[in-house]
Symmetry: none
Subunit: 205 residues, 4 copies
Amino acid sequence: MTLPQPRRLPVQARARATFEAILEASARVLVERGYDAASTNRVAEVAGVSIGTLYQYFPNKEALFVALIERHFDEQVELLQRMVGSLIDAPLAEAVRAYVGALFEAHANDKAFHDAILQQVTHLGLPAITRVHMVSRQIVQVYLEAHRERLRITDTALAAFVLVSAVEGIVHTLMFAPERPELDALSDEVSLMVLRYLVGGDDAG
Amino acid sequence: MTLPQPRRLPVQARARATFEAILEASARVLVERGYDAASTNRVAEVAGVSIGTLYQYFPNKEALFVALIERHFDEQVELLQRMVGSLIDAPLAEAVRAYVGALFEAHANDKAFHDAILQQVTHLGLPAITRVHMVSRQIVQVYLEAHRERLRITDTALAAFVLVSAVEGIVHTLMFAPERPELDALSDEVSLMVLRYLVGGDDAG
Amino acid sequence: MTLPQPRRLPVQARARATFEAILEASARVLVERGYDAASTNRVAEVAGVSIGTLYQYFPNKEALFVALIERHFDEQVELLQRMVGSLIDAPLAEAVRAYVGALFEAHANDKAFHDAILQQVTHLGLPAITRVHMVSRQIVQVYLEAHRERLRITDTALAAFVLVSAVEGIVHTLMFAPERPELDALSDEVSLMVLRYLVGGDDAG
Amino acid sequence: MTLPQPRRLPVQARARATFEAILEASARVLVERGYDAASTNRVAEVAGVSIGTLYQYFPNKEALFVALIERHFDEQVELLQRMVGSLIDAPLAEAVRAYVGALFEAHANDKAFHDAILQQVTHLGLPAITRVHMVSRQIVQVYLEAHRERLRITDTALAAFVLVSAVEGIVHTLMFAPERPELDALSDEVSLMVLRYLVGGDDAG
DNA sequence: AATGAATGAGGGTTCATTCAT
DNA sequence: TATGAATGAACCCTCATTCAT
């Protein structure tokens, strides 16, 4: 009955699959070789696709990896946004711990991939990274606003900037540190710092 | 009788000058083109030196830029170490403000150069960056130890890690943020966070 | 009973339109990009047709442009042939002027297109160009034969060769000359040369 | 005694030889393959030189062939200029015959090379070709001026334009004509046309 | 200590062409 | 008739590096 549609769908499905295969291969090759040595020919080979096909989807090497990075951080943003709902009504200490823990975890997964991005293609990823930053700050700020009367801060936007930057800085440092502190202790200490900053120290554990 | 030395000195002086010229050129080219496009031939050209000469001083491209980055961060370390003497006896609030301010300033100078390093050759700079981190932590830890009884922290090493990472994270974010907070306010807020973390918030302004 | 034809005709009409669209697009792309950069993919795009369709009408890129050029020169030949009737009985001076003028005009139109052909795909156009030459010579020779007794030439074929080549050479030079003589004066001078050559100069103006 | 100079000369001599080898190879490959198929890699191979070396002398493929063509036509110009001295005082008929003959000959030599240039890279050669044209016209005009009182032309610049374009047009046509007239007869006829044009026909043979 | 001509692997990219739909 | 995803040979060109001078 409704035959015509399927007839065209396979074509699009194939294209979609090809596109995905190329992106996946890009990630693999980026991790295994680094950006410079990650040749488009190698990516195409790993993707099981001809080099010409790759260039039908991406105008050049940079665009390929930009797409990869953008998608990666878009996923991060989605994750963050899904987290916000469950945290908004949680007690302060719990929320802080959850947030800090989530960031630690997020970076622990795909460490190799993250490394590659942050070490070698920061410039390609900047817009996406910036996006994540801004979303994070918005989320944190919304939380701060909601709990304002219980906090000893005045400018929630500024506080959000400080908090997100500080915590991400710690996570970032952690990734590249040769000798790293014990994770749980660190996580606790970071949470402590955040809490003291927000409530003035006495109420914090 | 003391002829040999002069005879040799000009030679070494010339060599030294050549070496410097190459390093300087590297920095210029790195900023103007980025790492990938910064060819050794171009560096030699800018340095006013033949490509052969460049390779007499550096075994390969990477070594050239590693040397550049190492020197840069070594200077940073020296700066930090010179700072420590004048801070060790300063009151807490003052010391914190001085430290935070110094970091903000350091990164503000040579922003383009810093950008290039952090965006494109993080992997080459990692050892040097790590060194700066460790020295920073040591300095901070020494300070914390010296003021231990007045602070509400237990593990000074851990606290040093948290503080340095956090503050540097903020500075780092600042460098790439499209819309950045007003600098003085931010500096104050960061100092506030540090102080509250260290003394428990009530005593901090 | 005459259903089949209509049923088929639209189809052929569409095919014809497609064919035309491709040829037109070829000309456009040839002018805008030059032969080498004129990719078949681009031609198809400009024609509003898929690349597969293009290859249903032309076996390869060369054939496409050969067809374009052939058609162009075929039109030129037709034009020449239509001219001959009205000139055969005209007085010498008038015929010469008409002929020279016609050539000047023909090349003035579609100058960009002509340029492209003559500068970049002479090799593809050679057969067609040669055809135009030969037809031109036949036409001229017929005229010379008809007026033989009034002319001071012996070998009309040779004279036709000389005349056609010379006049076309002038027009050709004109197309690429950076600083070109005033057209009317040139046209007169060329006519003068032709007339003197044919009748000996004294009778010519 | 004067040793230093030779020590450096070999270096330059080598470079010079390399340059020449590449240009020669370009000509060979152009004739054997045509412009499009004349890959820079092939040229380097024929020159017995690495591809990198080729690109040390020429920024790109086009520049390579432009250099080749420019040099070729520069030689033509020199040839023409050397011819002018011996012709300025010669009798009209003789001068015309010498000039026409010289052009016929010039194009007969290196026909294959000329073909390649005129059929495939006219656009690269245009500036050079134009230069030859202009020099030719100047030479002819100088001659016409010198013999002005004996000639029945008014505007020598215009006449020079007409003559040079016409004769070169004929030679050009000749090169690509499938069935060409007997050369001596043609040469005579062309000379006849020129003479009749210049002196009015009666005095010409 | 310095030169710079020469190398050549390897890169990114294009584009004419095919063929399953 | 028409589509357009896929192909892959082949191209131009760069650049880190060497080495004879």
